[in-house]
Symmetry: C2
């Protein structure tokens, strides 16, 4: 029965349409529809049958029982171990508790003769190449006093006499951090920048230094510089570096070696997949059993983030607006000799505080920056105005970086409030003039820009060509001198640059930055001009920059063993451009940022795995610049066991929320369906590869974090199940054994092996 | 020159390896390496050549000039229009400003006879089917006093006499909101729940009501129920609904119609792509010209979010811990007759406040919930304990939903602080007993759970089978009575349920929820038992639920025209399961949630486009349950101009940050590379399809928001360029004209068209 609205004869309109719409289907509708319905019935039956559960035991009850049981078991163990009663420290920390079950898991093992699926001779040839490459890296890392993977070092060591002075592999001295220490280290009571009294600084050594062929040399006397007085600070010389690089280049394109490494990487992937299928539930259970700890309250370090864009857009915008209200009359800029107030600057741009928006700011990477690093760089200018960049996000400007300092301190405050998030901010040293370091240090000290949650990395943009064209530099050696001379001076005599001495205590190392996809017009070989002779306007190639940075850092580190901490090299590497950047990175740096191109270089990827080189990846950054999100290799690297972490790179340009690092983790987890265990492993990796102190890491990860295998893990701090850590270390060990074993056997039956190693046609390289 | 570490003869180890690693490559390294370097040179040249810029005009300067120019132009216009001086209201709002240029853009137009690329007869047949379908929807929407797309209604109207009483299309009465009103509506001074004096409530009408064949009927007398006294409240009867549904089913699988719609959708995609290529920069420029406004400070409504999971995990965890500290002794639960304190509940689970973590909470969807809606539902139980769900996230429990009320109010406070974010929270009415509404309303009123940023939707879980099995219901009609009787009573006499009367003022409509992929064991046709006779334990099919909910709502809405606002139907629809759910949705509901399966039903997708039916999509939710993120059709729908918005569905289960809605937008933007304009369009859509008041929308989107075309848009509020709005409305109009034109021409030359419309083989349906 249908009824009509008061007014219109609705019964009519309901029956017919106002216009003839008859079709041949009229009258057949019922049949067609019913047939469809029936089909959809059967389909849905089929589709969802496997997920059906009997009415009488709905899954909720099953889940409830399961979880109760799990909890009961863990409780029993807890009481077993504690003989009743839970003893707590003030911050509610629980006393040591052994959870034996949680080390046991389903292991995958391969039996049979040719375990690795390639002919034995191929295996041996490949193994030799891999070992050779690892020895090369070990040499360079050892000589520069950076950290080399302990497990790998031990395995290599067994192949012959220890290749190098082992003091640098020594156990890191045990600190009094005990197993049940709280997860929060004691906060530094005095502000490190407050005590500026130079008298308390270490004394002058009376040394002097001079750069020769692009590398610093140190002499015991102030002058004259007789050879005799030169200090013995080792570094691998140019000839040796070139030779080793050539070896590496040849190895990574050798056909058999490539296919061997490719196979091993595939094997590692499927082994991990199997591990997950067999142990995922165990890992999850282990995480649930840990009281209080979850992904939100474990330490994370953002190991790759630039200070100039570490705040998000909304933050920068708010800050600029506040500044315009607070300091309208402040002279912030010199325009041909005459001072300009903040107000005047904005008036000259026809802008008011109210007008400003994130859109006008226009600092967010968008579709148009993809594969356009140049356009992208322009986005560093608020409202496209380089002057605003100068005023607000530079340390060296008319207001001595006051605004920038304040903004960074606001970011620091947020980090400290979040407790568990830490960052290693990149600050720039350009090498244009000798006083850059002092100005930077004065900025930090003057504005007290310091936080326990923050450490600094120094990024050196590869802009020699620009400065040279502008006649700001005469040759490349001048750039190196500008960068390193102050560091040697302050190491020789801290009182010569007191602020720098204080500032350096929070600097962990060096980064080398620029668009890697820029074409390089030179090959680095013995014919290349030495730094002092590099006077042309072209930029030296990537490996040239890296070698001289490395060499000077190595010498500096040996000098700093007088009692100062040493630096590490952590360049942008393999984000784009030629693959040989990753070779330089492999040889010279403790860890790298990006490493996207490893996905196209199986030999290098396998080597980065065996050496456990840290790779700080930023998929959101890549997504805006070089590689769409779903094609990013991070999940593949992670599954294979490479030492990867998640970092934000440029929150200002790539992130939307107030928690950029969480946003980065969230997207990765959502898009790649990572498990909570994967997320926690990534977070743990980020702490391991960071430059924070041994002491801090001992609190954050556990006192034994620097050991090998599951004993290095404290799930109560990391929320990473021992199972996962055990799987990683066992897998790495097996892989290393496969290699070293092959090399050794070959050694024994001492066959002449000329020409066993076939050359790959050049064309085979790349994919 | 290499030098040795004091101690070891380093010169040796640097030259040779500790073990024989000679290969046939020895001596050839240099050649191989150099060749590689050379090749990488040429490659990089090629790769990056197009992006090279002459040193003397780096892109930064170009960008700077461009932006300055743009800004200068907009400034000139501004001053032109304002004759100097910017007049501001207190909140810094700018007086009306015409920006003529910004309506002009590059248009794509098609010329030639057969504009749409299909044979004319096919076009006519298809057009008739499409028009017929649209008439069907128009009828049901009109009869239930829901909103039908104005443009589409007008175009259809021109095909014949207006099909229905048009009062419901009347211009929404103009409110005094003027063009320069602030973006923030005046805040409601008095708390709506404070004035509970029943005397101020509308009087009793003295009507009575009774459910007949599953639909409520209203009578002017309290009793006896003579037919004569029945009120004339129209609704489409069962026979008619079944018939129309059959028509729809036949249409959507008709071969020619399918390929026609498919082609049109393809056309819409590529047309949009062209629009973007031609106008992207213009759109961006327009956004930049708007002072102050950006994506962060435009209104967004989360149009699909469940109250029971609207807080994120960290929030729920913190709340539970706080509750355990604050109310340990409170009786929160009855365990066989005896009261249990909160403390006792947790003791019985061997848990302390300290132990709790997000992992133990275990409420986050993970890989194991994909395609496992059942497992997913179990995750609603904190720690897998249904009792905690009862205590903390239910409105009807021993503590009368106190904790849940407080938690929701905390969420509300955050929303109010964010200013621009609003939500429509789903609360459940189950239909198990008659007093559910009163209890729910009492909960809201007692705990004063209200916010200007929040409106309620009532979700009815399709659980008749469960209640029936437990003997809680005798037949389906009982369920309908439990759901609708109180609503009719309170509408007839508000004083009969005073709290409900107050609560309902913030309820916008009804949702129907459950796992759509569950198999349906019945076909809804004339042979289906009537609600009173539906006594079996099987669940009625989706369309059965939807029809009876719709019918009762329609009658109720007519009754409520006595001066109360009316309700709309906004069901979960097309998330999974059979495609005919989307047919019911198309016929009966104002807008839907999910609509994923439209991607497999071109005819329906095209119809949803032409009728501009709102689709609230939640890609993160889908990603955890039914469809991987990168395969989600949202970007395709958006490009074609479907009325889509972004919503979170279940922050508790799917999101990680404190800003779930921003997280949702962020991920969508990153993964699909949306432009700022796309984001703002999505946000505007979310407001348009939301149930917030006309007044609120006038403030948020602009006083003319309900008009058609660009005049409906106020970029100063929405940050959506007029260009985009113009493109959408022009495109929709062209599409509608194509259809109606075809139908009309055919009408005129009046040919007998039996059998022109060929039947598609059933097999052709689906893809």
């Amino acid at each position: 029965r249908s009824r009509s609205l008061p007014g219109t004869p609705i019964s009519h309109t309901l029956k017919h349409f106002p216009i003839n719409l008859r079709t041949s289907m009229d009258g057949k509708y019922k049949e067609i529809a019913e047939e469809l319905f029936t089909r959809s019935l059967t389909e849905s039956e089929m589709r969802t049958a496997p997920y059906e559960f009997p009415e009488d035991s709905p899954i909720e009850q099953l889940e409830e029982r399961r979880q109760r049981l799990e909890r009961q078991i863990s409780q029993d163990i807890k009481f077993m171990n504690e003989l009743g009663g839970v003893d707590r420290t003030d911050d509610g920390w629980m006393k040591e508790r052994v959870l034996p079950m949680e080390r046991e898991y389903q292991r995958v093992s391969i039996s049979g003769e040719e375990k690795c699926g390639v002919p034995f001779t191929d295996l041996v040839d490949a193994a030799k190449c891999v070992v050779k490459a690892l020895f090369i890296r070990e040499k360079y890392i050892a000589l520069s006093i950076q950290n080399f993977c302990k497990t790998t070092a031990r395995e290599l060591g067994e192949l012959g006499e220890k290749p190098l002075d082992l003091r640098i592999y020594e156990e890191i001295p045990e600190t009094p951090v005990d197993a049940d220490a709280p997860v929060h280290p004691p906060v530094s009571e005095t502000h490190p920048y407050e005590n500026q009294d130079t008298k308390n600084m270490p004394a002058d050594t009376g040394y002097s230094c001079k750069m020769v062929d692009g590398v610093m040399h140190v002499y015991t006397k102030k002058s004259p510089m007789e050879k005799s007085t030169e200090l013995d600070l080792p570094y691998p010389d140019l000839k040796e570096y070139i030779a080793d690089m050539n070896v590496m280049m040849a190895l990574i394109i050798n056909g058999p070696v490539k296919s061997f490494c490719y196979r091993r990487l595939q094997y590692l992937s499927s082994k991990f997949q199997m591990h997950i299928l067999l142990n995922e539930m165990k890992e999850l259970a282990a995480q649930k059993k840990v009281p209080h700890r979850d992904f939100y309250n474990i330490r994370k370090v953002d190991t790759h983030i630039h200070a100039s864009s570490c705040m998000n857009q909304k933050h920068l915008l708010r800050f600029i607006k506040r500044a315009m209200k607070k300091y309208p009359g402040e002279i912030v800029h010199m325009e041909h000799g005459r001072g300009q107030t903040l107000m005047e600057v904005f008036e000259s741009m026809n802008l008011t505080a109210f007008d400003l928006s994130v859109d006008t700011l226009d600092m967010h990477a968008d579709r148009n920056t993809f594969h356009r690093f140049d356009k992208f760089n322009a986005k560093y200018n608020p409202i496209g105005e380089s002057i605003l960049r100068e005023i607000f996000i530079k340390t060296d400007n008319h207001i001595e970086g006051k605004y920038f300092g304040h903004m960074i301190k606001e970011v620091m405050a947020d980090l400290e409030e979040s407790k568990y998030q830490n960052v290693e901010l990149r600050l720039s040293i350009y090498g244009r003039s000798r006083d850059e370091w002092d100005k930077l240090a004065q900025w930090a000290v003057k504005h007290q820009v310091y936080s326990d949650n923050v450490r600094w990395l120094i990024q050196v943009p590869r802009l020699f060509d620009v400065y040279r064209t502008k006649k700001q530099l005469a040759n490349f050696q001048e750039m190196m001198e500008n960068i390193f001379m102050p560091l040697f001076e302050v190491t020789i005599n801290p009182r010569s640059h007191p602020e720098l001495h204080l500032f350096l205590q929070h600097v962990v190392g060096f980064d080398s930055v620029d668009d890697e996809s820029k074409p390089e017009h030179h090959i680095f070989n013995m014919d290349s001009p030495l730094p002092a002779d590099w006077t042309e306007e072209d930029n030296p190639p990537y490996s040239y920059y890296l070698y001289y940075t490395y060499a000077n850092m190595a010498v500096l580190n040996h000098l700093r063993r007088r009692g100062f901490h040493t630096f590490v090299l952590r360049p942008h590497c393999g984000e784009a451009g030629p693959v040989h950047h990753l070779v330089s990175g492999f040889m010279l740096s403790e860890n790298i940022s990006h490493g996207l191109l490893l996905r196209k270089a199986p030999v290098l990827q396998y080597l980065y795995y065996l050496a456990q080189i840290g790779i700080a990846m930023s998929p959101l950054s890549n997504n805006s610049l070089f590689l769409s999100y779903h094609r990013n290799p991070l999940p593949e690297y992670l599954s294979r066991g490479l030492m990867v972490s998640l970092s934000t790179d440029d929150p200002l340009q790539f992130h939307f929320t107030k928690e950029p690092l969480m946003e980065e983790y969230s997207i990765a987890t959502q898009v790649w369906k990572l498990s909570s265990c994967d997320m926690c492993e990534l977070a743990r990796n980020s702490v391991l590869m960071s430059g924070f102190s041994h002491k801090a890491k001992s609190y954050w990860l556990g006192p034994k974090y620097s050991k090998e295998g599951p004993e290095s893990n404290d799930i109560r701090r990391t929320n990473v199940p021992d199972i996962r850590v055990a799987y990683r270390s066992e897998t790495l060990l097996e892989e290393l054994n496969l290699i070293t074993h092959a090399v050794r056997t070959k050694e024994l039956d001492n066959i002449d092996e000329e020409d066993t190693l076939s050359m790959a046609p050049i064309g085979a390289e790349g994919r």
